[in-house]
Symmetry: D2
Subunit: 339 residues, 4 copies
């Protein structure tokens, strides 16, 4: 760090890379972006120019070698994450990495081991933990306002499915979409899931089924502390992005509504009409992307643990693999069966 500012190199200038770079450049106190890398060098240059970032390169190794880079934000495609974590750790950089770390547990374990060995920090991009709604629910639970948790419900429905080509390489609904909900479940309840049971279907698009995936699912979660949870997913909610949680406990319930683009209501002879939820994650979670970066930068600058650790990146992958196995076998599957 120089002048007490964390100098960050952003690797990947695609959709999510742009978001993180812009946030780091404009609304994360104590951070400065000093380099941007993308295999598409034009994309790197354009983003760098817009954000007054001094360096744009096509080869990420240059970022890892750059002494003016204290930390990296890994925003490249999923299949590169684990390897980039390992190289960044070896280069002594602090690491923020988008989720998931990998679809393969051995790759994840190798990455976590490299981080451990290098003694650098790692934060995984489970941004929803930084959303104001979910944070408030978590805080209420942590403060004991609902007593002991008994039941958890997570509603997580996308407005539209991704292209089938993406579905084929996504790792499946449980590793691509539900993974956020698995993380949310652990975050809210503060206890580990020991077993899952999956009910799944193809209701949105038969092509998704042909690609070997599901588009509709309900996963029941058995937590170690006795809480029973359900996650329900759909790849297409006609009314927009549906992101709600509800936790019921011995003293009460905490739950959240969706966020909307405005709070205006029209009352006519037809009924009372209010706004649909914000359309998708870019609209819904924009502030949480900034907040997770503030947390990462703060953790590095104050040398405190990051709020989403490497193991927090591993466990939801185990849950996703178990959820799929449960669907395939039509029986409850313990996480211990996955390894």
């Amino acid at each position: 760090m120089k002048n007490n500012e964390l100098r960050i190199g952003v690797i990947g200038a695609g959709r999510i890379g742009k978001i993180h770079a812009q946030n780091l450049a404009t609304c994360v106190p104590g951070a400065v972006v000093t380099a941007i890398a993308d295999v598409n060098e034009d994309a790197a240059r354009e983003l760098a120019a817009r954000l007054h970032v001094p360096r744009a390169v096509s080869d990420f190794h240059e970022v890892l070698r750059d002494p003016a880079v204290d930390a990296v934000a890994i925003c490249s495609s999923t299949d590169t994450h684990a390897d980039l974590i390992i190289q960044a750790a070896q280069a002594g950089k602090q690491i923020f990495c988008e989720k998931p770390v990998a679809h393969d547990l051995r790759k994840i374990d190798a990455a976590l081991e490299a981080v451990e060995k290098a003694g650098v920090k790692l934060q995984i991009g489970f941004n929803r933990r930084f959303d104001a709604n979910f944070r408030r629910v978590r805080d209420l639970i942590a403060a004991g306002d609902i007593g002991e948790p008994h039941l958890l419900r997570i509603t997580s429905r996308d407005p539209a499915p991704p292209p089938v080509e993406y579905v084929k390489v996504s790792g499946g609904i449980f590793l691509d979409m539900t993974i956020h909900d698995f993380d949310m479940a652990r975050f809210l309840i503060g206890s580990e899931v020991k077993e899952v049971f999956t009910a799944g279907a193809v209701r949105v698009d038969p092509e998704i089924g042909k690609a070997g995936d599901l588009d509709t699912a309900v996963v029941t979660l058995f937590f170690e502390n006795g809480t029973i949870g359900t996650i329900d997913n759909s790849r297409r909610a006609a009314y927009g992005y549906d992101q709600r949680v509800e936790v019921f406990g011995s003293k009460g319930m905490a739950n959240t509504a969706n966020n909307t683009p405005h709070a205006a209501v029209l009352s006519t002879g037809e009924g009372v009409l209010s706004a649909k939820p914000l359309y998708f994650f870019l609209e819904r979670y924009m502030e949480s992307f900034a907040e997770e970066m503030r947390s990462f930068v703060n953790a590095v600058r104050t040398n405190t643990p990051t709020p989403v650790s490497g193991i927090d990146g591993r466990i939801p992958v185990v849950m996703g693999l178990a959820a799929r196995k449960s669907y395939d076998l039509h029986r409850p599957v313990a996480l211990s069966e996955i390894g």
Copy 2:
């Protein structure tokens, strides 16, 4: 019928008998209560006096023999229902019977057979179908407003558990409490459930566990039409009676909030405070009790099918037995395994 009025004998003058008798006497057009029977004759007399009912007896056989009685409302204890249905059918009376018909499928089948043979009408007291909130959701689904249903969620939580003595004879949470939700599931989706999976726990009161029952449960439902449903139950919601449903489909979602005693809101430095749900079923479902009687009386007077038939009384019992078996075996159980 006389003067085109359906003359009804109410059997059982306990809590639910009082409600039905009062509704029939004051707010069900075309109905008149002509007799009330209760083994506690004083209770029968008192209720009859208050409602200007001409006859009060201790022996229900007198009601069944009374030519001035066209129909009976069976409001006695559950263990008497099946036998009373049989005797009432043999006496040629039209029959309204509180749920459940019985905990034993053979008894139910005998009762339904007697009704069939006598050619009388039978309506089972699944009053929640007549609640304005749920009816609206059902109507939206039936009208195609949400498209094909994909996901169903029923939240059904009591404000306080019954006495443990009652728990012991109740048939268990699935036959006593969830049975209403099983009926609601069928009512809303308009398709049969073929398989269930139960996650259950004792979280509210260990005494309930000692009595062999559960107080917290999540039942996953697999419908023939592909809908996946979940019912979550708790015997104690600190904030009152929680009765909500949500149905998600290809074109949208229909769901309901709880009813509250008032719509006033207090905003202070502490936050924005609104009313808890209505306390329990007497407050919450009062209007639905009247409405179900209007439907029954109307079905008899117009000689049309009752809206909740005998088979509608049987299936939720099968579902309850399957739900318990699923909990016991920790695997999905098909309804066809119950018989």
Copy 3:
């Protein structure tokens, strides 16, 4: 009273008379209807038959002379109210009278004097005080939850205007419609209004203007305790009966939403649609009609003051006259100018 039951004669078997008679007969403990009078004797007979009331007459004098009548509920047309109060008081009957007592203050004063002289009780039918929403707001204010009141807002909009023929004899919008809001203002704030300012218009139907009346109005109220209030009225709200209040004070705010026929919500690509308010006063205030009768019967049986006194019936008429005068003169008008 006989057997500790208050025996009530209902005078007037029209719309509101039917409501009060039915409530007294079925859901007001301690009351019994012993006679019904209506100039249309058939209407009286029909209602009496339905409610098991022993006596139906065309001449209300028979009710006043009947020793089996302890109290009367005056539900006839407004122009008869004051005279009926006087005669009933002279006959020693306890009196419930629909609002308004009269449009003419001298008539009101004569009626109140007769009541005073006879030492009987009088309750005026400002039923909205007994509505759960408004009562909750009043209770919050009375308990100090919002501190000292500073601002009051009453929204009161009908779904449809009355026939113009009725408008002509109604006394005008302020005595016919706003009178309820004037009472509500006093009830909520617990302080008297000393001055009013009226902004009015004809926006709904020009025929109402031709009849010399307004159909849209905003009345500003200056209370003795310093609160400033506004009432806004319209004779036609396209979305139904709009009945809300809001009181803002030094420590917070209490306000109410409308009541709706159900709490179901439909979310689709078009938006999020919920129910319109209940259509009109019969739907919206049904429970408050019963509750005001329970209060009246209780006041008589326990010999305590009625909750809406004769002077509570007079002051809103003064406010209505002042509101009209303010509109005519286009300046604030003190209530002391009315007399």
Copy 4:
């Protein structure tokens, strides 16, 4: 403009200047901040450094002389606005100016004349027009969804009063606070106000009264198109910043709720608790500050009229002066009386 980018000099680096400079620098496409001026040169330098702005000066004249400045954003204290507008217009700069232009109509007229003469654009900082809630209500009205407007209600309550020292130089509540609501009234209804009537009080802090001002007010608005409006203001709402509007018309109603920091709800035995409104204008209107700048920049770049013109800056001042006069004279005051 250079490279088709509007080069903006920000005059004033205080609270609002910082907001506009940051927005222009980070989230207004097509804009670039090229200079910042503040009498406190350190403040200018610090802000410039943070935002990568090449030039920071203490004398605003340097900005006006700078050929690398196409437009200025006037964010200095109110008493300097009119003079700065005149000088900027004479220098040929496009102008964004914070509200109010001045408390004195002659000063405003001189400024508007200078703008007219120079042929430059002027936009006044009524940012609330760019808020998503109010914009949605305006759009619904403009689209005819509520038919002809009949009634308008604006609730505008601050969480806490400003220091009394500020109150003394603020121009009074109507020019300092209500001025936003006057603009909102015109914006929503799309018609001019011809007359106002004010009810005012000192309820929050007697010191405000001693300074000759009010802290609580209800202003009735008479619009040329027949709409009747009310604005209610308080300098202290215990529950936070209360910013709501409601417009009622022949076909329905459009209204808005407050925005909150989160959408989580806690239900316990105590009731159902949700979040207070966002605390104050910095939280509530942050996005609207960015949006108004996007509109200004867009208007200049496309050479189209600015959405909030100079006359839009003048009329609310007239309304404020009329509102105070109405309070002083305790009678309705026509805007034509103000001049």
